[in-house]
Symmetry: D2
Subunit: 335 residues, 4 copies
């Protein structure tokens, strides 16, 4: 039984991780931490766990952590995370980190979109935790950078085309819509119910932090520098991201060929499903699945994916990564 | 042309009042105020008014107000309002006050649910602004206490039965569900979109401040001390309140008799519609209408009403009251 | 491993049952049936099961069923169900029936609200499948009538008070709001998205079929004939029912005593949680839990419950019943 | 007073047109028609008009129509409309047609996406009713083809760039999300509340009928053959369309220049607002406004617009067109 700690357990990715681990047959939650003001019994903080989880969320005590856990799911925010991850690693734990701090290999790119990086040492050894594309790296990692939600959906939508060199890499447009849980648990004007309900709008125009991450993944998959324009939107639903990816073909494949390409590429993937139609976020909500559908229209490829931003886009994928680094069946707790 | 000021214009009842007054043929918005940190161009603060309203919201200047306006819609919160209303009246304005400060005639009851009352002098002369039940009072008032949203819907649902002495007054149960705009514009945990969406819950159990107000109205209409158990709930929609009122008959009326009683009672009311079925909030959203439907089931009367909490439950009714005190057609701006 | 068939698997309770059984460690889905026009691969009919369930939904073949299954979850509608249940029992299966056909012991009451009963023979031996109140009956049953969604929530909300004789039984008011999945999967005007969204309304005034069922349960629990006025409403969310139950005390308990009464009554129940505040539907959505909260206000008891109408109100409870009749841990597949 | 008939008044565009015309100071609803099975009192068919509209919807009688109306808003579906419009014109009425039948000037393009055209005679003289781009044509028209909802929003989003020749016309990508009222009033699986709620998905991939219409408008505005890839999505809200338009610059303008270009282009337009940020659908819901925002990101123009699909995207624009052809102030009834 793997003993799992969650660092920063009081947010949405924390509660989603708890939910998954309560049903994991070979891993066991042993330690949960948060800022002092967010500590307390799990079932008080998250009423949906009443009667299901007897644990307390406590302020982090590294010694206790080292005794109680084999692996830490580190759900801290960007910038904060790189202050803790070195300590967790030094304490002998394996770490799956949810923040962006270990995702971007190019320190300059990271620093442009985030802040000065303070742990480039560990950054060098971090595996990028998108198993469908980088499973081999993950297997032997002690530190896995769990991908962003948008990059996960966007990359899986066109990875087969990129891998085969079938698209132009000078301009790929990723137009996405996320549910409102993507904004996290802190109340704000934009996400106040009477403002967000019945609303939909774009944000982060030209500046969203997931843009360099998507470019990094796509460049690695295609083997070529790939330029991506990523435009996120947010809509009035809880969970899920639809990504619609527009790109120019180097070579035209018809519907049947596209379907075959995708089915072959994802044949052994337990969590990617190739659909016959554009997927809906509701089909994947609450699951670790990514539904993809590639199409050809007006001399362009238009490729779609749907994921649950909190599961395949965060906690589910983290546990998939955890399963991999411990040599377990990758799907444990996730089917 | 009546010149209208809105005091406290930066919240939901402020913007709803602006919207209505932009279409009012005999009233004109002349002055809008808010706390300094909430001031600015109307079209910046409320993007839905871009191109439709050239006004600024400014910090309150009483002298300017007195010059610019004949009447003030006072959209300040409870307790704050009674600090300003005397000043507005002294400045020669008529006032329609949205707060609870001038609604409860029994000072002790007010002080039990709110705070110490600091303007009992004006309280004595305030008219209770529910035109369908107290129109004559309103006509000659300089100060109108605009009713609460729940009290409006609940009272109109059973006023005909109360007036005719057809129900027992020892226990009337009002079970209501409001949309989330009822919580006002300030973000909070409960109304954070991912918490409120797909949710519905009760609150204010035995303690809601509208309970004494409902009892006061029902007691006045029935001519007897009336005890009310009021239980509010909030659901995942923007606007509207469904009130379901359960009461014991003194005398049984069948469906046809009930319909006739209600149709007669509301025959001349421009904003009350007697329905043949339970009304939906969507039928009244954005309007000043109250849809009512009385029924008899299992030896009880079960009476329903639907209103828009921001219109008939607040700004629409305030403007209906304003029309009345200025001797205008009551429906101006509201049809 | 228990072999489970679902009869009528193409609707919402069918898919919810499939979802639960995919995670059940001692039961296995072996056979799924539906009307011929609704047959096909599970993952085509329910895209959320893509890659998770290789089964087909087939037209019912009794012989095949008898070979393949030990127990049938019968998800057929009222009236249809009693045409099939006798055949399923004769084929040697145990049956958990989702319809109302075996719930109402008083044939006349059934026939008043539904149709002529055609299987009174099996009706006599059916257990009423609300484990928290009738577990002993269920243990030895071959046929369990799975309760209605509203009756489940309403009964659990006040069972402790009824059992102890603390409330008047001449008039209990149950005011409930359900999510729209309660309407089933067939499109209709009222549940067309642009009509149901941002809406909330009452229905079934004095006529809802769950009224006699609630009266039956409450009468059995209280040991006295109990009269119930049940008023359902539907709101703009997918899942869940909030029931608010108003009743007159025979004896007054204060908050602390109420809490103790409920905590004691439900102490050994794995799926009932006694809360300190009114529960929200979102806290129980997707779970088999019932959250209850009893209060005392204005000389009345006001008791609340929240359940997921498709889980504790249907498929989850059915599998809880299935676990019981097979002597398994009652919570398998449901935690 | 202009006398207005609505042909096909029983759908969403019919009720929206009624709502607007009830507040129009120089036009008056005189005649409403629908299929016989959809006739009846307006206030029974649309409960939101209870007490507000005493009219009946009747089966169409051309003679009566000719007597009662000066202009017909023809809300019939594609293909049906071109069977009626010639009759309406022959009866001496002016016509604003909501269908696609008179929008596409290229008969072959129309016939590819729709059906064989049966009224090419009137097609030749129809004005395309997007006032911001084709006002002069509309002024003298007897038949106006009211634009599609998507084409309206998409075109206004980039018209200034197209007009000035600042973008490449070989590939413009329009990625839009509409609210569910876009599907019309007939219930269907996809728009059944429990399916559409909390969902979002793409549709009409490479095949949506608004694609040739958008290409026609953009080609006329740019003066060059313009190729458009249009990809619609639908989300869980009632009203509104966000269009995000991606295009390659011929020449780069920075933020300030873009803002100036748009502000100048739309300076005299009463219903187009140039925003400083990406607009939300909620800001325009219920209004005839189009909010636009142009941006430059990653060497691409990314331009946004928000409209209410039922108002600026249908009924509001139709009445704007009606005002124009009768020489009235274009904004009557719409502010």
């Amino acid at each position: 039984m793997i003993k799992v700690a969650i660092i920063g357990a009081s947010g949405y990715t924390g509660s989603e991780s708890i939910k998954i681990l309560l049903n994991h047959s070979k891993a066991k939650l042993t330690y949960l931490t948060a800022l002092p003001e967010e500590c307390g019994a799990v079932e008080e903080i998250f009423p949906q766990f009443k009667g299901r989880c007897p644990l307390e969320i406590e302020p982090l005590d590294i010694k206790k952590l080292a005794e109680k856990a084999d692996v830490a799911l580190c759900c801290l925010p960007h910038k904060v995370s790189m202050g803790f991850v070195p300590i967790l690693l030094d304490a002998g734990l394996k770490v799956v980190d949810f923040s962006a701090d270990y995702r971007i290999r190019d320190v300059a790119a990271y620093e442009k979109y985030y802040v000065k990086h303070t742990d480039t040492k560990n950054l060098k050894h971090a595996a990028f935790g998108l198993p469908e594309l980088f499973r081999d790296e993950i297997k032997n990692a002690r530190l896995v950078a769990n991908p962003g939600c948008y990059p996960t959906g966007a990359s899986l939508a066109i990875a087969p085309l990129l891998k085969k060199g079938l698209v132009e890499t000078d301009m790929i447009i990723v137009s996405s819509v996320t549910g409102a849980s993507g904004a996290g648990k802190n109340p704000s004007d934009k996400f106040h119910f009477p403002n967000m309900n019945e609303n939909l709008f774009a944000y982060g125009i030209g500046t969203h932090r997931h843009m360099p991450e998507i470019e990094q993944i796509m460049s690695e998959v295609s083997g070529q520098h790939t330029t991506v324009l990523f435009q996120p939107h947010v809509g009035p639903f809880d969970r899920g991201i639809i990504s619609t990816v527009y790109c120019k073909p180097k070579e035209k494949l018809d519907t049947k060929q596209l379907d075959k390409l995708y089915c072959d590429f994802y044949a052994d993937e337990p969590f990617v499903q190739v659909c016959k139609n554009a997927p809906g976020v509701k089909d994947v909500a609450g699951t670790n699945y990514c539904h993809v559908f590639p199409a050809y229209a007006k001399d362009m490829y238009v490729c779609f994916s749907a994921i649950d931003n909190l599961v395949k886009g965060a906690s589910g994928q983290a546990i998939q990564n955890m399963n991999i680094i411990f040599g377990l069946d990758e799907t444990l707790g996730l089917k």
